[in-house]
């Protein structure tokens, strides 16, 4: 049986290592890697995992569409994605047309869909769901995030603050909290120290004075280590990040969306050889309770276009084999529509890893409404 983090990690290792995995093999691989998965990931050397979190509960059924399933269409008379518009992946599943940006990755055999991922007895509480997904522990006993051990091996205080980077103002719990924390970067513009407009030459001296002042905060003060890591990480990381970004000439134009700029920054860090092992970015607004169709389509378009640009950029540099992108969301949506044109959260969801050396493909017939019209998790944590 897969334990705790087993599923996600083994799935990642599997896809990155170029194995096409029907779910039975995911399970077998998971058992084999139950204890060795961390070592396997560490052995990845200069490989990079980019995680795109679709926060709020992405509608998996309208993302990867079971376009031959009559039950899907009868449950969603107005919100279903029409079968003639989907981008077919198999005889059963197709992508929402707004994800056309992923078409090349699919054609190249580098896109995989892992459907029906879940755990027993989900309670529908966003709070609990986030807790479980971020720690990969359905028992809710774990404090640290599922990526924490990878971050711990990637970030150090000896000049490598950008081994793991989360975009935004908050650190995703999935990355929390090894002693040398992942760098958090709100955006390249704000990730620099402003100069004193009147005495720019004194900026360095002022910085040194502040450093001295804050150095008085040391153990046993409870957050001394974290503080040191954040302050040092910023001091070193700012220079590294801007040098990498200034030197970077992307092979394609990225969309000007937050996701597009974020992935471009990740590409620059990868190309800059700064040891980026984990990049984490959140696309919010997936909690589409009302006006689902248009909102969701816009979200998927932003996702597909940004990932498509990232894919083309990496492909042009021959880096596809060393980068894996994983998208995930804490839940899907109920199969049936409700009164307002939107969905209530429900169990089903799809996780979409792309890139890596994977021969892509839907790794199982995902997203199938069960007999009771309720999606059952098919892979359990």
């Amino acid at each position: 049986m897969l334990n705790r983090r087993g599923f996600i990690q083994s799935a990642l290792v599997g896809v990155a290592a170029g194995i096409y995995m029907p779910h039975v093999f995911v399970r077998a691989l998971g058992t084999a890697l139950a204890d060795g998965s961390r070592a396997a990931l560490s052995a990845g050397g200069d490989r990079t995992l980019i995680v795109v979190q679709l926060a709020g509960g992405n509608d998996g059924l309208n993302t990867v569409v079971p376009y031959q399933d009559g039950r899907y269409y009868s449950a969603r008379p107005t919100l279903a994605v029409r079968p003639e518009t989907v981008l077919p992946l198999s005889r059963e599943l197709g992508l929402n047309p707004a994800l056309a940006g992923l078409g090349q990755a699919w054609a190249d055999g580098r896109l995989a869909v892992v459907g029906g991922v879940g755990y027993d007895h989900p309670s529908l509480s966003h709070f609990e769901a986030m807790d479980i997904w971020q720690t990969a522990d359905p028992e809710r006993g774990r404090q640290s995030g599922w990526l924490a051990s990878i971050v711990a091996g990637a970030v150090d205080s000896q000049g490598h603050p950008l081994g793991a980077v989360a975009l935004g103002a908050r650190l995703a719990p999935a990355l929390c909290c090894p002693p040398n924390a992942a760098a958090v970067v709100e955006g390249p513009e704000s990730f620099r120290l402003a100069a004193d407009p009147r005495y720019p030459a004194l900026t360095g001296a002022r910085q040194a004075a502040l450093d001295r002042l804050y150095r008085s905060y040391r153990p046993p003060a409870p957050y001394a280590a974290l503080f040191e890591s954040a302050a040092q990480g910023a001091a070193v990381g700012i220079g590294q990040l801007h040098r990498a970004l200034e030197a970077y000439r992307p092979a394609v134009d990225y969309p000007g969306t937050p996701l597009g700029s974020g992935l471009k920054l990740f590409a620059a860090l990868i190309e800059g050889g700064l040891g980026l092992r984990v990049g984490y970015i959140v696309q919010g607004g997936c909690d589409t309770h009302a006006d689902q169709a248009r909102t969701h389509e816009a979200l998927l378009r932003a996702l597909g276009d940004a990932l498509g640009a990232f894919y083309a950029d990496l492909a042009a540099r021959g880096r596809l084999d060393r980068v894996l992108v994983l998208t995930w969301s804490e839940f899907g949506r109920r199969v049936a529509e409700n009164g307002s044109p939107g969905h209530r959260p429900r169990y089903g969801r799809s996780h979409v890893p792309a890139g890596g050396r994977g021969e892509g493909g839907p790794s199982r017939p995902a997203a199938r409404p069960g007999p009771a019209g309720k999606r059952q998790p098919q892979v359990r944590g």
Partner: protein, 308 residues
């Protein structure tokens, strides 16, 4: 959220019973946790669960069955687009419910009363207050003492805080500089302490870069606080705010004269720096946990000396 903020400000020092009952009738809360629209035929458990988990007891002190039963007490409410709350009796479940071992035709307020009768509720709130005002890891003795005051005063927050601020632990070396100020505390605190005059229109964006978008907490548990405020991005945002506050004379008017008695700025730079140290770091510029005159340490964790 504005209404919720006003409610919390008005009742912050009242008794916790009033706060818990009121927050269950707060339109923003009712919407977010689906009290609104929850009906007898299909009660939504979200609010009942978070009421026990996040606001009063914490996991392990109630069962899923308690959540299901309590959820039925919160049925029948609807919040309209304007935030008006309506109670539709026909949709309310007024049958017998058994919550935390007590059976009756409980409504929303009864559930709060039943919860607060549990000994764990006072301990829960005491721990929360101590973690916020004193130190991240308060002693069991302090928790028990504040919990006792809560129980004996009918959950008076004011009485609990009065006791808390006079606890030996509040003035202990362990509590000194043991908390991380939240962005709002840091920004508003710096502006007040330095007597800066500013319109403040840019401050919400500044707070957002520090990880706190006011009126938009990540979820009903609020901002996690503590170490979660500290990362490379928020650290840079804090330094840049301090820079802005002290250099942008157009939008942040700062006059050092207000820091000195009778507005007389001393000619000696050393005296100037000492005064700034007093204002911002209670005179303890370099000593860390062990330093500082004992009389000033009474300021405790969240006094002017709190970190950043």
């Amino acid at each position: 959220m504005l209404a919720q903020n006003r409610f919390l400000r008005e009742h912050a020092l009242a008794d916790y019973r009033t706060i818990l009952k009121g927050i269950g009738r707060d339109p923003a809360m009712m919407r977010w946790l689906d009290i609104s629209g929850s009906v007898r035929a299909g009660p939504n458990e979200n609010y009942a669960r978070e009421l026990m988990e996040l606001f009063s007891l914490s996991v392990g002190h109630y069962t899923e069955q308690d959540v299901r039963e309590a959820a039925r007490a919160f049925t029948g409410f609807v919040v309209d687009r304007e935030g008006r709350v309506d109670f539709i009796r026909a949709r309310h479940d007024d049958s017998l419910k058994t919550v935390l071992g007590r059976t009756g035709r409980w409504g929303p307020d009864d559930i709060v009363d039943i919860i607060l009768d549990r000994p764990e509720a006072a301990v829960f709130l005491a721990r929360k207050l101590l973690r916020f005002f004193v130190r991240p890891d308060p002693s069991e003795a302090s928790i028990d003492e504040v919990a006792r005051v809560l129980r004996e005063t009918g959950f008076s927050v004011k009485s609990a805080l009065r006791r808390l601020f006079t606890l030996p632990e509040f003035a202990s070396p362990e509590a000194y500089r043991s908390l991380v100020k939240g962005p709002a505390e840091y920004v508003a605190g710096a502006i007040r302490q330095l007597g800066v005059e500013t319109g403040g229109s840019g401050l919400p964006a500044v707070l957002a870069r520090m990880g706190q978008t006011l009126f938009n907490p990540p979820n009903v548990a609020g901002w996690p606080g503590g170490p979660a405020w500290l990362n490379t991005a928020t650290w840079v945002a804090r330094l840049n705010f301090a820079n802005w506050l002290t250099t942008d004379r157009r939008r942040a008017r700062l006059d050092p004269a207000v820091w000195f008695p009778a507005g007389r700025v001393p000619p000696d730079p050393g005296a100037f720096i000492d005064r700034l140290g007093e204002l911002l770091l209670d005179g303890n510029v370099g000593g860390g946990a062990a330093g500082g005159p004992a009389g000033i340490r009474v300021a405790g964790g969240r006094g002017p000396g709190a970190l950043v």
